[in-house]
Amino acid sequence: MQLTNRSKVVSDKVQTGMEKMYLPAILKGMMITASHIFKRRPTIKYPEHTRKMSAVYRGLHVLKRDEKGAERCTACGLCAVACPAEAITMESAERKKGEESLYREEKYARVYEINMLRCIFCGLCEEACPKEAIFLTDRIVDTEYEREDFIYGKDKLVEKIDKPIDVSKRQTLAVTEFKKIPGLKHNAVWEGNRLDRKSN
């Protein structure tokens, strides 16, 4: 029974004299290889040229600071919950008096670690974060000799105060708008919205 029209009829016909000579077929093959001399080469000569990176490339993470230089992360653990690879661990701590310039809210992450060997760079942590604290950037994770060195702590993840990392490309309009919706609970503490709610 024939189910589709895609099957091909196989023949076992005897080779003709021309085919047995092989020479025409060999010449044809040589012409095919020769035609490739004139084709465009897809090679990118790496150190001089680099492949164009996507504007929303998902690479090494960054823990953002706010406009005053305080860490945004409150160690809520939503990123760790969202992470499908279970690459994120954290320990929270309470902010002491006098540390207001370091941490934005009363609770902060004392330890924040991402295992870069586990991470699949899916970006779900970034999506889960209610504080706009974690972002994936277009930086690439370095190679290391030891497995332990791939567990990135806050020393590597938190952006330096004097060298802020631009993540505006990954802050899509849809996400920023979504996070401004006042009715959603997690947006209630978002700084811009807090004023709105009070005024309501």
Binding site: T33, A34, H36, R41
Partner: protein
């Protein structure tokens, strides 16, 4: 007399250096051409266009660890690649690289190391000694794969030498029974190149030359998928380098032989008209140099065709190789010889 000895010594050194240089740059061109045929770029880091790549490769070969297996026969193990290299270099001595020129003092110098009257025979003799290098090297390694590769190489070279020899006999019949290479080339100066009279002979010779130099599609002796590395499995460092290098020298020399036998050597169409317009008289050294340029161009084209074939065709199976050699090429070359002899008889060039 002294000037003659010095001249011959200089020619020897030049031919030796040329063989090595061409072999070295063949490795570069092989990689570059294979890249071109496969939409890649090829070596481009060492020097402009990767032109220093052969130097880097050679340096790498010298600095690699040299391993001689404990169970091998050390003398033969070293003799193998040496012999292969030696025979590869020896073949260059009878090839006429250019027209001979005459100095103002009246001395004639030829662009050839030695013009022996049995040049073709010498060539075949030396080429068949070449198989000893592979055989000794493969056997002395005391490795099954190396031995298999060596056996393949020797049986393949012996099989294809017969068809090659017979196709050359047909060539010799057309060129009036001379075995001197310079005379064969000189005869093509007046008339057409031998390819016109011997197209089938050239085809057989070309296929056999591919097999003789162990080039794809006949590179069964070093077939990686079956024999690890074939006859040079156990070799490392510069001894491996000598084997690989000698293969390229063989390729260079067989290209030179093909160009000399079938494509007129240092002659080229409208050569005399060109020399007249340039105002060069017979025996001028510039004629020799221009002729050498033409010869060298032909050799380069042949080397490129060798490589082009390699990067197009897959490897033969062993029984196919033997089938092609014994059942197709041998009868074809005999037929070619018979036809040649009959035609030459009726043209009156052969007297019974």
């Amino acid at each position: 007399m002294i000037s003659f000895v010095i001249y011959k010594f200089v020619v020897c050194v030049i031919v030796f250096g040329l063989s090595l240089a061409v072999a070295a740059y063949s490795t570069w061109w092989e990689r570059k051409l294979s890249a071109l045929l496969q939409d890649r770029i090829g070596p481009n880091r060492a020097g402009p266009f990767g032109l220093l790549q052969p130097l880097a490769d050679g340096g790498k070969m010298f600095f690699k660890e040299e391993i001689i297996p404990n169970v091998s026969n050390k003398f033969l193990f070293i003799l193998g690649p040496s012999l292969f290299m030696l025979t590869a270099l020896m073949t260059g001595s009878v090839i006429p690289w250019g027209k001979s020129f005459t100095t103002e003092a009246g001395n004639t110098y030829s662009f050839q190391i030695t013009d022996i009257s049995i040049g073709v025979l010498y060539l075949f003799g030396v080429v068949s000694i070449g198989v000893y290098g592979i055989m000794i090297g493969g056997w002395a390694s005391n490795n099954k794969f190396a031995l298999l590769g060596a056996i393949r190489a020797s049986s393949q070279m012996i099989s294809y030498e017969i068809a090659m020899g017979i196709s050359v006999i047909a060539l010799i019949v057309t060129s009036g029974g001379t075995l001197s290479l310079s005379e064969i080339v000189e005869q093509q100066d007046a008339g057409f190149a031998n390819i016109v009279w011997q197209p089938l002979g050239f085809l057989i010779f070309f296929i056999c030359a591919l097999a003789e130099t162990n080039r794809a599609p006949f590179d069964l002796p070093e077939c990686e998928s079956e024999l690890v590395g074939g006859y040079h499995t156990e070799y490392s460092s510069m001894k491996l380098g000598l084997f690989l290098f000698a293969e390229y020298i063989n390729m260079f020399i067989s290209s030179a032989i093909m160009a000399a036998f079938y494509f007129g050597g240092y002659n080229f169409p409208w050569a005399h008209e060109l020399y007249q317009t340039l105002g060069l008289h017979d025996g001028s050294v510039w004629i020799s140099i221009i002729g050498f340029g033409a010869f060298f161009t032909k050799i380069c084209i042949f080397i490129s065709v060798f490589m082009w074939v390699r990067w197009t065709l897959p490897r033969f199976r062993y029984d196919q190789l033997m089938h092609l050699g014994w059942k197709i090429l041998l009868p074809l070359s005999l037929l070619n010889l018979a036809i040649t002899v009959v035609v030459e008889y009726f043209r009156g060039n052969i007297h019974l």
